[in-house]
């Protein structure tokens, strides 16, 4: 029996994390997917993650409950309005209200815990430093510092076993490059959703920052988003 190495992936069921899951599988890992019910206003994100995990064949999918609403401070976890119809150039200015304080730090810490229990030494996260909405915890310098910390935090660090690697295969790609990469891996983007404020039937709003960045990505790749076809949104 051959040994298949394990990887833990943070999966929201959006375009980026689903592409990252496809890459982790193509890299030869048995994939363990982790999602969070963190107080986000829309259940559709978790439905998507569960569906993506199932259709793409992960070894196990865990949805963890962490109530970030207790802290507040973000449009995604409180009653602050999600901004709509901002121009792409406006998104480059400052950190938007959709930023959730320390979210990736928290998510990666749970991934690290699970990786340690699984004896997995690889963690995948679909952060992106180009079309990234200005979040501090999507930058390469953050990821490098996190990886350094992770290698001092765990049993394997003390016992001198393997190093933990945080994989960020999308970090330097544009949205259209991510889409092309995913299509080459046969990813069905109609099962993903990236919207911060979807309609009751799960259709994207096409006005929030995330929808606009996605739309721009498909346009630049010369493609129509299959999610819009699914919802007769074209």
């Amino acid at each position: 029996m051959s040994y298949i190495p394990k990887a833990v992936i943070l999966l929201s069921g959006g375009l980026d994390s689903t592409t990252t899951l496809g890459i982790a599988k193509a890299d030869g890992f048995e994939v363990y997917a982790l999602s969070f019910r963190y107080g986000q206003r829309h259940q559709v994100e978790l439905d998507n993650a569960t569906n993506v995990a199932k259709l793409m064949g992960v070894a196990k999918h865990i949805v963890l409950d962490i109530d970030l609403r207790l802290f507040g401070g973000s449009a995604l976890t409180s009653d602050i309005e999600v901004p709509k119809n901002r121009s792409i150039s406006d998104m480059d200015i400052g950190i938007p209200v959709t930023y959730v304080p320390a979210r990736n730090t928290i998510f990666l810490s749970f991934a690290l815990a699970w990786a340690e229990v699984l004896q997995a030494y690889n963690i995948y996260i679909g952060v992106n430093a180009l079309d990234y909405s200005g979040y501090p915890d999507c930058r390469p310098e953050f990821i490098n510092a996190y990886e350094n910390m992770a290698n001092l935090a765990t049993k394997s660090a003390v016992e001198g076993l393997k190093r933990i690697k945080i994989h960020t295969p999308l970090i330097e790609l544009t949205k259209s490059q991510i889409i092309k990469k995913g299509l080459a891996l046969d990813i069905d983007y109609s099962i993903t959703s990236s919207c911060y404020d979807p309609k009751a039937n799960g259709a994207p709003c096409r006005a929030c920052d995330s929808c606009q960045l996605r739309e721009k990505g498909f346009a630049e790749a010369g493609l129509v988003d299959p999610l819009n076809i699914k919802f007769n949104n074209v």
Copy 2:
């Protein structure tokens, strides 16, 4: 009105974190205490934390639910037996089964999130690298790497505001030095409990590593543990 700076503290209600809370207050901070219901087997830990937070006058106390039992891998979050009656010298060998994978990394990440929302730049954690049971995430090199990462993770990092500091006032103290420091700050140790496996009435087992380290600390300080007096355990 004078401005009182805020600090977030990780509070278990044990001897170390309660002493750390006393130090944070003596340092002049308005203190926000954070505890976790993380799947530990004993409710007594959270009752203690709530009681300590109340009696020592914190600005706010939040208890967060995070179910680390979904990952398993520790005697504190699964059915693995808590070791009893180990000699103190045995505790120096390897990492015990009471280690919870990446626990301090996870706890600090929530403290970081709350600190960011509160605009607090100080986080206190009562880790101890001497009488520390061999946990990797209690070592100074871990704390330094965490602080470095935290200063790249957050809004204040990007916007060039104040640096975040992780305070570890106990990290180089022996248990008896911690106790003496706490008594000088008028801390009532009868309200704290450090036991991994307390009895139904909250009395410490006096046999787990944590109880033994505490007992040794009081003995070396030439004192009787007021917790044992409370439970007629002397």
